[in-house]
């Protein structure tokens, strides 16, 4: 790809400005996330002074043990915050891949059927099979993957076009939604309540065991995403142009769809289909960047921040009530996005 003439001074200046903006946004988000993480370890009903939090974190190295504090910090707060960050990142990356790939800001997994597949499968496990706990997560994971495979398979005709994937995704979402509605009108109220609690999504039962599957998935998925993102920039120009530029369009698209489904499926299995994080992270990141880059890294940071911030609000905003995180992400993410829509005084292109 070296057919471009030497860039002029003006191009250099613009590139410099964009790079600066990208750096500022990334650093700003990273600092905000670090602060939020620290706050998450400090806040809670059991008061722990910041110094003791640090001591606990370092205790595996120093050997200084303080049983009560260590349990609260290392077995309750750290896993919960880590899970929030990882699931937030996963939802965000899933969302921004779909939105970019399908060139439609509305095409996040919670609209084109992937989340519906996971949810319908989980509701089926809860209401019809009477399962709970880990098996519901397994069911949700299987539902997400099978739905995605069905959408891709049905959309395949000598390759897939974004438009076909979106439309068939809508169809699948409708079927899965109908399955859920039907089960809801046929079940006992108690089962419906259980299913609803799972559907909203929560970190209230976070434990270290929930983190491993997701963490291992991310070890595979993140390098895959980084490798394929370059092709995505070419695909933005349309399939024909991208092919002419030497991009292996169909291969890369399949790889990216697999990655996006993987992110959504693992995150949903871990915490339930937490609403709106996948949808909102990409648009927020791109509005902050204002054209300076594709926003993947920034979207991941935004997703983690929305999830972690929402969970803190859910835990500590109302005394004596622990809300599920999914109740807050919708409001939190929505306010964030609406504020950006109002504040940005120029056309922010989101796709």
């Amino acid at each position: 790809m070296s057919i471009a003439p030497a860039p002029s001074a003006a191009v250099h200046a613009i590139r410099g400005r964009l790079a600066t903006r990208r750096r500022n946004v990334t650093v700003g988000l990273a600092v905000a996330l670090a602060l939020a993480f620290a706050l998450a370890l400090y806040l809670g009903d059991f008061p722990v002074v910041p110094l003791d939090v640090l001591r606990s974190l370092l205790s595996p190295l120093t050997g200084e043990v303080n049983k009560g504090v260590d349990f609260i910090v290392l077995n309750v707060r750290v896993p919960r915050a880590v899970l929030a960050v990882l699931t937030g990142m996963s939802f965000a990356l899933s969302g921004i891949i779909f939105q970019t790939l399908l060139r439609n800001p509305l095409a996040s997994p919670d609209i084109i059927g992937i989340s519906h597949g996971a949810s319908a499968s989980a509701v089926f496990c809860i209401i019809v099979l009477g399962l709970s706990g880990l098996w519901v997560s397994v069911g949700a994971f299987a539902g997400a993957v099978l739905t995605a495979l069905a959408i891709y398979g049905l959309a395949w005709r000598n390759g897939v076009t974004a438009y076909r994937v979106v439309l068939i995704g809508i169809g699948m979402a409708a079927i899965m939604g109908a399955v859920m509605s039907y089960l809801f009108t046929r079940a006992r109220l108690f089962e419906v309540q259980q299913a609803l609690a799972w559907l909203i999504g929560s970190l209230n039962a976070a434990n270290p065991g929930d983190i491993y599957p997701l963490a291992m998935a991310l070890v595979v998925l993140i390098p895959l995403t980084i490798a394929l993102v370059r092709t995505l920039d070419a695909m933005q120009l349309g399939d024909d142009t991208a092919t002419a530029l030497g991009a292996r369009v169909e291969f890369s698209r399949l790889g990216l769809i697999l990655a996006a489904v993987g992110y959504a499926a693992f995150a949903t299995a871990a915490v339930g289909p937490v609403s709106f994080v996948a949808f909102v992270a990409g648009p927020i990141a791109r509005r902050l960047l204002n054209g300076a880059g594709n926003g993947f890294l920034q979207a991941a940071l935004v997703g983690a921040l929305v999830m972690l911030g929402s969970d803190m609000v859910a835990q500590h905003a109302l005394p004596s009530i622990q809300l599920p995180v999914g109740v807050v992400t919708g409001v939190f993410g929505a306010l964030f996005l609406l504020w950006l829509l109002i504040a940005s005084n120029r056309a922010g292109r989101v796709n």
Partner: protein, 343 residues
């Protein structure tokens, strides 16, 4: 507003016009079925007698007049409204995923109904209608206001994002209420599926004027949507006032979506997919897409309703569920088979 009308192309126009007449015939057939088919078998003679010489002492006559006729009228009106609302929104935002549920209209209606049940303990359908209507209108006003702020005005992309944000926020509030109030969950889980059953003529009379205004507005906006579909710059160059066009289309969609949600609950899928089917038949011209959507949608909705009555006796399957189960596979097959016109 002087986008010159293209001349009537007989080669395309005549078959499309015949198709439209064919659809009118199918709508009438489905309406006929909706009046004659149900849990209680009623002979055709009795149906005819009930419609021509009504006898309030006869149970069969009362079933026809008080149950099946309102249900049929609601099905026709709500179907037409949903099909048009979807087509208009997709045209105005130029986004194939646009429909009432994306723009926050359903969520607004649902929130007001949920609040009414949870706080005021309301359980009459006739009050749900007004709650839903107020909620739909309030949500859309806020979405439109937010999208209009900033320099560009209500661009399609901002409308869609603001609508999605609104939907997410309201859904969160709804979830929180349903979690804490089992009684509300028990009441609302049946309403939110969408149904044509149990609506009497009073509800029809209440929402009909709104639906009529919406339908007229929507059909009148065909030319504006054709202008918008050429892209903003072309439309502007042709002298079209973009903001005004979008406002008219948006108003039509709100009135239609609000009134139909009020009458039958938040029925998904119909408004989203029927316009795509219409577009596959007619091509990209909104002068055809709108009337086709307006006729195809009631066929789907009322057909699904009739099927729902006989699928699982003695109970009924709500129309929202049948619509998705029946319509979605058909829709997916259509998307696979045809090269669909992009927006």
């Amino acid at each position: 507003m002087t986008v010159s009308a293209p001349t009537f192309d007989a080669r395309r126009g005549v078959p499309l016009l015949l198709g439209l007449l064919g659809l009118v015939a199918i709508v009438l057939c489905v309406a006929f079925l909706s009046i004659t088919v149900g849990a209680r078998p009623v002979t055709l003679d009795t149906v005819w007698a009930a419609l021509t010489a009504y006898n309030p002492d006869s149970t069969d006559h009362r079933i026809i007049w008080e149950l099946r006729l309102p249900r049929t009228v609601i099905g026709l009106l709500v179907g037409a409204a949903l099909g048009l609302a979807g087509a208009v929104l997709q045209g105005a935002t130029r986004n194939p995923l646009a429909d009432p549920s994306i723009l926050g209209i359903h969520a607004g209606a649902a929130l007001f109904v949920v609040l009414g049940v949870a706080i005021l303990g309301i359980s009459q359908l006739s009050i749900y209608v007004w709650l839903a209507f107020a909620g739909a209108g309030a949500a859309m006003l806020i979405v439109y206001a937010v999208a209009s702020l900033g320099r560009e005005g209500a661009t399609p992309i901002k409308l869609a994002l603001a609508g999605a944000a609104m939907t997410a926020a309201l859904q969160s509030v709804i979830s929180a209420i349903l979690l804490t109030s089992p009684r509300t969950l028990d009441e609302v889980r049946f309403w939110q599926v969408g149904s044509l059953a149990g609506r009497n003529m009073d509800i029809v009379i209440q929402v009909a004027p709104f639906l009529a205004v919406g339908i007229v507005l929507a059909l009148a906006s065909a030319r504006l949507l054709d202008g918008l579909s050429m892209g903003e710059d072309v439309a502007r160059a042709l002298g079209q006032r973009i903001g005004l066009s979008r406002a008219i289309a948006g108003l039509a969609a709100v009135v239609l979506a609000g009134a139909s949600t009020a009458a039958a609950g938040p029925i998904a899928f119909v408004g989203l997919t029927v316009p795509h089917v219409a577009r596959a038949i007619t091509g990209p011209n909104y002068r055809w897409i709108l009337p086709y959507s307006m006729l195809l949608a009631p066929i789907l909705l009322l057909g699904a309703d009739v099927l729902g009555r006989v699928l699982a006796p003695p109970g009924e399957v709500q129309v929202g569920i049948v619509t998705a189960f029946l319509g979605a596979p058909f829709f997916i097959a259509l998307v696979r088979r045809r090269k669909l016109a992009s927006l």
